[in-house]
């Protein structure tokens, strides 16, 4: 089949790939011939490069996978025979010769972990005590390298705690090796502290999301109860229905599990909310809805649309004479779902709105700022609310969320 379309297409693709590979390799080779400076410059570069490589591996804290990769870099940095990293409970990584010492390292490091001071052990100190196992047996490896190596064991101090040790093994433990090992241990400590900082930053973000979410519900409860209260004398039956709707609404918003929900659930919640609002505004509130079924199962942050609709009702229509119209749309936009909420109410002053969203001014737009902040926290800065408005011109709020959110359970 010389002319088959697929085969020709595939051939073109393979040839393109081959050209790309050749060009890539060629560039690499060319680059390696470039002038890289004096020996001192090269040594500085090598040291810093090894340190930054190792640093990347340690960014998730002291764990076996990261420590194993980092120990390889650090051993070349120190130029020793073997290098080990431990935490407080066990050996995380061992790189280089003399693995026969590995089982006894924690024992040797016990003093360092407890006292926090660097220990220097002369060659042979790592051997099992003579009474326990005769030389040449289990404690010593077949080559017996462990017996001729001295060890420098330096503590890794994060804050005031000792979180592990760095142990370097070399034929002799000179002052140079002792000082360098101490510095490497301190450097590892800085990386561990950075990792802890990362962890606490993400914890802080989670806590902020929870705090923002807790802020919303009381705001709405207050308004709804006022609306229902106005019917208790004039129309008790309706007031009863409204209380039932309200109960359903609160069951949704007080639910315990999950910070996320589906668009369909959130729309159902908006329906109940609007029922309560219409109890108060009557026919003044008109709502139309256009939703693409493809995006109904999109996951969105819990209670992220209802505050926007609430904003449209309160700040768009309440201050206005005559009926107001709210349009809610949800569209399929490639890898995103796009939701818009539009009202033809009094609008807002953009400058003031910007101040509110930035958190500089205290306004009535608590809901807007809240939703905006949550969207930015969850999906990144480019997914904040987009608001088109001017005084007297109504308001259009657009929200874009990615359809694919494997990490978020609705």
């Amino acid at each position: 089949m010389p002319d088959s379309p697929l085969l020709t297409a595939a051939a073109v693709a393979v040839i393109a790939l081959a050209i790309a590979v050749v060009v890539g390799v060629g560039l690499k080779v060319l680059r390696s011939f470039r002038d890289l400076g004096t020996d001192a410059e090269r040594a500085t570069y090598k040291t810093l490069h090894a340190a930054s490589e190792a640093g990347q591996h340690l960014r998730r804290g002291l764990n076996p996978a990261g420590a194993a990769k980092a120990s390889r870099q650090l051993r070349t940095l120190l130029g020793c025979e073997a290098l080990a990293i431990t935490d407080t409970t066990g050996v995380l990584a061992w790189d280089g010769a003399a693995e026969d010492l590995k089982p006894r390292l924690m024992e040797l490091a016990a003093g360092v972990l407890a006292g926090g001071r660097t220990a220097v052990l002369p060659a042979g100190a790592g051997q099992a005590p003579a009474g326990q196992a005769p030389a040449g047996q289990a404690a010593t490896g077949p080559d017996g390298t462990g017996s001729r190596l001295a060890a420098v064991i330096a503590p890794v101090r994060a804050g005031t705690r000792v979180v592990g040790v760095v142990a370097a093994f070399a034929p002799s433990a000179g002052a140079g090796l002792v000082r360098a090992t101490g510095e490497v241990a301190d450097w590892v400590a800085v990386q561990v502290e950075l990792a802890e900082l990362d962890a606490s930053r993400s914890l802080l973000m989670e806590a902020e999301v929870r705090a923002l979410r807790a802020q919303i519900s009381p705001h709405f409860i207050y308004n709804s109860l006022n609306a229902i209260a106005s019917f208790i004398n004039t129309d008790p039956a309706r007031a009863r229905d409204l209380v039932v709707e309200f109960a359903d609404f609160t069951r949704y918003s007080f639910r315990r599990h999950g910070d996320f929900t589906t668009l369909a659930e959130e729309l159902r919640c908006i329906d109940r909310y609007l029922l309560l609002e219409r109890a108060r505004f009557g026919e003044r509130v008109q709502v139309s809805l256009r939703v693409a079924p493809e995006v109904l199962s999109t996951v969105i942050p819990f209670l992220s649309l209802q505050p926007l609709v609430e904003n449209a009702v309160r700040h768009g229509l309440e201050a206005k004479e005559g009926p107001g119209h709210i349009t809610i749309t949800a569209d399929d936009a490639g890898a995103f779902a796009q939701v818009t909420i539009e009202d033809d109410g009094v609008g807002m002053d953009p400058a003031q709105l910007r101040a509110v969203l930035a958190g500089h001014a205290d306004g009535d737009h608590v809901g807007l700022r809240n939703v905006d902040a949550r969207l930015r926290q969850v999906y990144g800065n480019e997914h904040g609310l987009v608001i088109d408005t001017a005084p007297g011109e109504g308001t259009l709020i657009t929200m874009r969320v990615p359809k694919s959110q494997p990490g978020h359970d609705a």
């Binding site: 089949m1 020709t8 609007l274 399929d332 609705a410």
Partner: protein, 488 residues
Amino acid sequence: MNPGVALAAVAVVSLATAAIGFYGLRISRTTGDFYVASRTVRPWWNASAIGGEYLSAASFLGVAGLILLSGTDALWFPVGYTAGYLMLLLFVAAPLRRSGAYTIPDFTEARLDSKAVRKVTSLVVVLVGWLYIVPQLHGAALTIRITTGLPSWAGSVAVVVVVCLTVVSGGMRSITFVQAFQYWLKLTALALPILFIIFYLAGTGTPALAPPAANPTGAAPTGLYQNVSLLVALLFGTLGLPHVLVRFYTNPDGQSARRTTLIVLGLLSVFYLFPTAYGLVGRVFAPGLARAGQADAMVLLLPGELVGGVAGDLLSALVVAGAFAAFLSTTSGLVVSLAGVISQDVLGGGVGGFRLAAVLSAVVPLGFAFMTDSLALAGSVGLVFAFTASTVCPVLLLGIWWRGLTDVGAIAGMATGGLLCGGAMIAGAVSGAANIPVWLAQPAAWTVPAAFAVMVLVSRATARRVPGTMPRVMTRLHTPERPLATER
């Protein structure tokens, strides 16, 4: 046939597609209809949409042509296309819906916690999509050339232009309705003419020109290996098609994803009755149509050949309309899902990026289509399925059903499958059709097991790299959703 009628049919289908895409959602609802508006797509609709997107040029034109040429051996194609959905139903539909990932690269990244796997999967998915669009464009070129006498390129360009315009201008916002409409259009356009022809032949007592078992081209029957290899390609290839999987996200949960797949099985089975009928009627009453290189056009020519006159023209126009619906629906489905992948992974994901990506995903295959010549449509699509089965399918199946899969294993497996299958395709092209060995012509039977084996072995060797998030992801994939009643 009359070129004007055919052109009118093409124009009507294109306009109807665009119109439904634009206005399908324009019906605004008031608050009273809140529940109606926020109700999810029914499995029936969604199944029709999947059928509409899935039934491509190969199904509409290729299968009938192949039956005309090689008889019962060609029946393995519709069998494989349909049975692929059984695999999807059993192994992939519900867990993938529960994963929350929207595209295959999203899924592999979430499952294996690795950006590199995402990159490789995106590359493979884009490649599969492009290769799959090329036969659609060849089909369009063939259809336009045969029915209107215009040059071949006009058909391919027409499809690309219509698809680009509708996708870029937001006309695919109600893509589910468009695709569902296309399924029923294709079914009608194929079923009505053949039923009319059969009754016409019975009514006029036209004598059979050849026995059904005759072999008009003298082609050698295919062997066991070829049929097994083809079935492997079609069964496993269906699992990895990017445009098919995206449709499942319209289902609200895993259970309705399963129900949808079941209905799709029924819809496809009904559909494939008709290409088979065309092939058979062609064999018995119009064996003259069995010319090599033109068998794919048999569906288009049969009404004119057997009925003729104005009635034949009208029936042909209906078939042309259905064929164009097939090209448009499959191409637009592929373009939309490819544009999603390209805009996210290459262009950083924005509204403008999506449009650019959509144009890119349609124009690149157009270039491929110009450089190459159309051959048997069913065969080319079969090769795309083999490629998918050797790359995307193993990573999906093992990702869903095996806890031990690692990122390195997945990449190694996809690379092995892709290189072996792609290599076989190219080697086949270089050595020419006549002396191509069977195992190169139908590579799936050995490339698919090879991809699986490499993936498993490399994963075993790098078992330390099983991501820490694996237990949580696996739980999510396989735990049935809470019933809605308790969730409220």
